[in-house]
Amino acid sequence: MWRYVLMRIVATVPVMGVVAVFVFLMLRLAPGDPAAVIAGDYATAEDVARIREQLGLDQPIPVQFARWIGQLLQGDLGTSIFTNLPVTTLIAQRLEPTLLLSLTTITFAILVAVPLGTLAAWRAGSLLDRVVMLFSVAGFSVPVFVLGYIFIYVLAMWLGWLPVQGYKSPFVDGLVPFLQHITLPTLTLSVIFIALIARMTRAAVMEVLAEDYVRTARAKGQSELKVLVRHALRNAAVPIVTVIGLGIALLIGGVVVTESVYNIPGVGRLVLDAVLARDYPIIQGLILFFSFIYILINLVVDLLYTFLDPRIRY
C-alpha cells in the first residue's frame, strides 16, 4: 500500500517536469517578440531591450531554461513586470479567498448533490427524480455570470438577505461576516457542480442498485436507508469521486468568473488582471500553480480509489 502511494507521488515529478517545459516554451514560441508585446505599441527600442534583458530573453534558449528551472526549484516563480513583486507573493496574497471559496463550493455541492442523486436513483422515474434531472440540465445550461447576477438581484438587492459583493476573511473579520459574504458566490459556483455530481451519482447508484449484492442485502432484511448508504453508495463511490475530482479541476474556470462578479480579491481575479495587463511572469506562474493543483487532485483521487475499492490495486 505505502509502496504504491510513494510510487504515485514519485510519478508526479515527471508530469510536473513536462508541464514546466510546456509553460516555458509557450512564452518563447509565441509568435513575435514577447518583450515587444509586453512593452506595448508606444515603447522605444530601448524599452524593448530593457524588458528583454529583464526577462532574460537575450540569452540562448537552453541557458534561459536552465536558469528558469533553477529558480523554479527554489520556489521562485519570477517577478511581475508591472508591480515588481515576486509572483509567489502575489499568489500567496490572493490564495485565501480562492481556497475558501473552492472549499465551501465543493463541500456544499457534495452535501446537496450526493443525497439528491441517490434519492433520484432510488426512486428512478418518480416526480422527485424528474425534478432533480430537470434541475441538473438547467444547472448545466445557465452560465455562471448569469446565475451570479440573478442571485445578487434576488437575494441581495431584492430580499436584502445577503451583502451584494466583497470578501471578509474568517481569520481577520470573523466567521459570521465571512459566511455572509461567501454564501452567494458559493451558491453561484456550486450550481453547476451540483448538477454534474447529482447526475453522476444518480447514474452510478442506479447501476449499483441493479446488482445482485443489493438484492442480497435486502434478503438479509436490511433497511432501505442502509441498503442505499452501506451497499449502494459505497460501491458507486469510484465514479462519484472521479467526477468530484474533475469538478475541482473545472472549478478554476468558474472561480475566475465568480470572483469578478462578486469582486473577491482571489487568485481568479489575479488571473484576469494578469491576462489583461499581459503580465507574462504572473500568467506563467499561475499556469504552473494550477497545474500543480490539478496534478495534486488527480493524485488524491487515484489514492482514494484504492481505499474505496479493495479490488483496485496497481
Binding site: 438484492r215 434478503a219 438479509k220 432484511g221 451497499h231 459505497r234 463511490a237 475499492d309 479493495p310 479490488r311
Partner: protein, 550 residues
Amino acid sequence: MTESPPAARSGPVLEIRDLTVSLPKGADRPFAIEGVSFTVARGEIVCVVGESGSGKSVTAFTVMGLVPRRELRPVRGEVRLLGRSILGLPEAELRRLRGERMAMIFQEPMTALNPVMRVGEQIAEVLEIHTDLGPRERRERVLAVMRDVRLPEPERLYHAYPHQLSGGQRQRVMIAMALVLDPALLIADEPTTALDVTTQAQILELIRDLQRRRGTGVMFITHDFGVVAEIADRVVVMQEGRVVEVGPAEEVLHRPRHPYTRMLIGAVPSLVPPERRGEDGPRERALLVRGLDKVYGRSGWFARGRVVHAAKSVTLTLHRGETLGLVGESGSGKTTVARCILRLVEASSGEILIDGVDLAKLRASALRPHRRHIQIVFQDPYRSLNPRRTVGQSIIEGPMNFGVPRAEALRRARELMRVVGLAPEALERYPHQFSGGQRQRICIARALAMEPKVLVADEPVSALDVSVQAQVLELLDEVRRRFGLAMLFITHDLRVAAQICHRVMVMWQGEVVEEGPTARVFRDPNHPYTQRLMAAAPGRGRLLHDRIGG
C-alpha cells in the same frame, strides 16, 4: 430468538396456496405464476424444477417479498411462513422475517456479495440487523458459522474481500450468511449452477448436511435433474407459471407422470456414451497442435503480478468428421487452448498445423486467409451476435470478407438457415427476435458460412435450457457428419461430453491429464482427477438412464 411459535412446530415451514402473480401489461402472458400450491416441511428439501420462464424464481422471490410489487403483483392466493400469512405484510414486518426466519442464497456467488465489504462483516450484518449482540459476540457467532460451512482459516477469511475467495468459498460465505440465524426456511436459487462440478458436489453435500443437522426446510430451485437426483426429498415441476407435477423424489424421477417432466428428465444427457459404429475407418487429419504453451502475465518492471501457466505443452490431433472433447473445470486451460488455436490470443510457444501450415508462426496479414478454415461457436448466444445487424448481415459478413459476391453469400445463407432448422426469412430479422436456442443455431450457421475445416464449439450449450440443449447438440452432430467437420468441443459438462464426443481429453491446471475414446474414459478413468470429476457428476447413478444408457 430462533424458537418457532408452538403452532408452527407441527405444521409445514412454508405453505403456498393458489399463489398467482400478475405480469405487467404487454408481457407475453397475463400471469408470471398461476395457482401455484406446495408446501415445504421442517427438515425437508423440496426441489422446484423448471426451465427459464417457468416461474420458479418468481415464486421464490414472492415468498421473500423481494419482487418489485408494481411489476409483479400477487393477485391471489396465500403464502404462510410457520403458519403466519406473510403475503400482505408491511415492508417493515417482512424485513424482520427476512434473514431471521427465511433466508436466501443465489445463483451467482461472484456477484451476490458486496465487493467492497469484508466477508466477515457481511455475515455479521445479519446479526447486526436482527439481534442485540455486541461486536465481540457477533464476531464469535460469525466465526462459528464460518467453521460450520467449512471455510478454511475463518479468522483470516473474516477480513478477506469477496474477490480474494474462490467461487466455492464465496458460495459458502453466502450459505453462512443465510444460516447464521438458523432460519426455518432456506430458499436456494440455483446455488450451484455457476460452480464447477467438483465444487458443486461439495456445496450440495454441505447444504444437505447443514439442513439435516438444523432441521431447516429448504426450497431448492434448479433446472438440473442431475442436481434434483442428488438432493431432493420432494419435487415440484413447473412449466410456464404452473405446477405440473408434485411428488416424492423417487416417484418423480423414476415414474414421472406429466409429459413435461418426462421430457425434462429425458433431456438430461446420459453419462453412458452411446455406441458409435460405422464412424471409424481411416480418416484424414484436419488439425494438429503440438506443444502448445500459454503463459499469462510476466514479471518485469511494469508488469508486477503473478504469472499463470494456462496451458502446458498441449498436443492434440483432430480428424475430419470427428468430435474431440476438451473437458475440464474453470481454470483448467481448455478455453485458453481453444483461443490459442484460433489465434484470438497468441500462444507462448507451440505449433498449430492445418494443411501443413503452421498458423502459430504466421504474421497477422498472412494469417487472414487461413482464418476461414477454423471457426468458433461461443457459449453465450445472447452476446455473440451484433444486436444492430440483421442475422443475414452477420452471416454473410465473413464470406464477403473472403471475396464471395453478395448474392452468392446470401443464397448460401438461406441454404444454411434450412440446415440449422430456421426459416430463410429469419435472415431479415435482428438477434433479439430469437430465443437462446435459435440464436445458437444462427451462430452455428454463421460459422458454417465460412466453410471451415475445423469448428471449435466453446461450451455451446451451457447457457441453454436442457430441452433446447439436446436439440442444439443434435444439430452440431448433424452438421459435423454432413460437412465432414472436425469439431473441437469444449465443455465442463461430462454428460454433454459423453453424448457428443468420439474422444475426450481431460484438462487440469493447464495440462492434459487423460485422453482416449469417450467410452473408455467414462467406463474406466485412469487419472485420479478424471475419477474425481466422474464421481462429482450430479445425479450419477441416480438417474435411470445413467444405468442403462441413453
